[in-house]
């Protein structure tokens, strides 16, 4: 075929394929967890989507992000980390109502629901693993009943615990909160009081320690949690791997977000957005994370419960 006749055809094909690929702009923090989520997101979306991966830092500010968005015209943004959300909020503020904002999906940020509250056309996935996921997994591992579970909480996290309690009801599990005011002076002492109350008066079957920095400073761990947990002979559920290591004397069972799974879940949200022709008004529903990784400190667990050996095949990592 003559080149003159072939060229327009090639251009036409190239144009069609360029139009067919929907662009997604990923704005994320540096780090292996973010890379893993990005990898699974890109894989799950496949060749019909063109993902542009931008890392925070190295001169990335609202101006640069504005230019990047104007240049690539993404159908949607994926924002990973609180700083990425803040940056996009800044861009939206600068643009005001002059141009339509591409919708965004936020993940891997602390309290995504609160973080995106100032964004237009925003949805996301919580980073915090909900209590029901943690407790159903614990229950399938141990012979003892898991019906009443204590949790020490400060007022600004009570809505998260209430939401978790709602889901727990489906599984016949009751969350028993012990509230510590934000302005409490001696938080370590409050933690000791809370654990004692949940153990003696509320007679809980397990204790869920929230991933809340307010309660997890070195001083509060050493002066509050560790002395209190010495006499707490029930499973202790945590959200940090370091708290279930052989030497930690802290947690029994850790449940962590599965970063690969988060990418798959975010891809699902993008596909749904596309089906809905990228329509997302206001602030959408924030989804609970689905995929988790489970780490069990078997020795620690055996001090308080009977562990079902058959259930260990469902645990990602067993510390013996």
């Amino acid at each position: 075929m003559e080149m003159k006749r072939l060229l327009p055809a090639l251009l036409l094909v190239a144009g069609v394929s360029a139009r067919a690929a929907d662009r997604i702009l990923i704005l994320r923090a540096e780090g292996v967890n973010f890379q893993e989520t990005t990898r699974s997101l890109e894989h799950e979306l496949g060749p019909e989507f063109q993902c542009e991966d931008r890392v925070l830092g190295s001169g990335m500010d609202a101006g640069v992000l504005s230019v990047a968005i104007a240049k690539s015209r993404p159908k949607a943004l994926v924002l990973m980390d609180n700083d990425a959300i803040k940056l996009y909020a800044e861009v939206q503020k600068q643009w005001r109502d002059s141009v339509p904002y591409p919708p965004s999906i936020s993940l891997m940020a602390i309290r995504v629901d609160k973080a995106i509250s100032g964004l237009q056309r925003a949805t996301g996935i919580f980073y915090e693993v909900p209590g029901v996921t943690i407790l159903v997994n614990l229950r399938s591992l141990v012979s003892e009943p898991v019906r009443r579970v204590g949790v020490i909480v400060r007022p600004s996290m009570e809505d998260f615990v209430r939401e978790s309690a709602k889901w727990c009801k489906y599984e016949n599990i009751e969350l028993i909160p012990f509230s510590v005011p934000e302005d409490r002076k001696d938080v370590a002492r409050a933690v000791r009081q809370g654990v004692r109350r949940l153990r003696d008066q509320e007679q809980v079957d397990a204790l869920w320690i929230l991933n809340d920095n307010f309660f997890l400073t070195p001083e509060i761990i050493s002066g509050g949690w560790l002395p209190a947990l010495e006499r707490f002979r029930k499973p202790v559920l945590v959200g940090v791997e370091n708290f279930v290591t052989a030497r930690s004397r802290f947690g029994t069972f850790a449940i962590l977000p599965d970063h690969y799974g988060l990418g798959v879940q975010a891809a699902g949200m993008i596909l749904r957005l596309k089906e809905e022709e990228w329509e997302l008004d206001g602030t959408g529903k924030v989804e609970q994370p689905l995929a988790v990784l489970k780490i069990l400190n078997l020795e620690q667990a055996r001090k308080s419960v009977h562990v079902k050996e058959a259930g260990l095949v469902e645990v990602d990592k067993v510390i013996r």
Partner: protein, 231 residues
């Protein structure tokens, strides 16, 4: 977290360090891939067995390492045309298992399937999975994919989908784990092939090593692959 995956992956490869025919296994179930791999490696010391938890990892390594055999559900195996099925797994004499639609509190209305969201484990690539699900549920629902079988239960509890599509065997496991009011709807056309072993075309010597080893697996190990015999 990636460090954890790194450890798991390293352990997986350490476990398969012995010389022998390479066998790749992909069978999404409630058991972790490493637990299945440990069980298989103990029973088949002459084989290099690697068990995958994600289709994408299986695809990448098949392309790179060209294993002698792949053990996976029949529909997954079809995605690798260079691997010809030589053994078919059976359960109670059948080479297929029934899939059901599981929902909470009320049975899923199959008449509304094409306007509903259904949760599934992504055992095939997205497009193939869409076709696979459409064939089972006789409609074109919005599909919510997850990577692990256990992730289907939170999908239901958080009401992210109207129902999840699972094998009857996994439904029984969910009933053991969950106290939610799980309700099943049986589907007429939802029969899915159990695991099969496919051997690389032309690998006849290796075939002599792999197939007898798989045939010698005990009931407990076969159960981890969702079968109780081979034919």
């Amino acid at each position: 977290m990636s460090r954890l995956f790194g450890v798991i992956l390293s352990l997986a490869f350490l476990g398969s360090a012995a010389a022998g025919a390479k066998v790749f296994v992909f069978y999404p179930s409630l058991a972790r891939p490493l637990a299945i791999q440990d069980a298989l490696a103990k029973k088949c010391p002459g084989l290099e067995i690697t068990v995958f938890g994600r289709l994408t990892d299986l695809q990448a390594l098949v392309e790179r390492e060209h294993p002698t055999a792949i053990v996976a559900q029949a529909d997954v195996l079809k995605q690798f045309p260079a691997y010809l099925p030589k053994l078919q797994g059976l359960r109670k004499g059948s080479a297929t298992e029934d899939f059901v639609l599981l929902s909470i509190d009320k049975p899923f209305d199959v008449a509304k399937v094409s306007t509903s969201s259904i949760g599934v484990v992504g055992m095939l690539d997205r497009r193939e999975m869409d076709g696979f699900v459409a064939g089972l549920v006789s409609g074109a629902p919005h599909i919510n994919r997850v990577t692990k079988v256990e992730d289907l239960l939170p999908l239901l509890i958080f009401q992210s989908v109207s129902a999840v599509l699972v094998s009857e065997a996994n439904m029984k496991e969910f009933r053991k784990k969950s106290q939610a009011n799980l309700v099943e709807v049986k589907l007429e056309k939802a029969k899915v092939g159990l695991v099969a072993a496919g051997v690389k075309d032309g690998a006849s010597d290796a075939e002599k090593q792999v197939l007898p080893a798989l045939k010698s697996l005990d009931a407990g190990t076969l159960a981890m692959l969702g079968v109780d015999a081979w034919k």
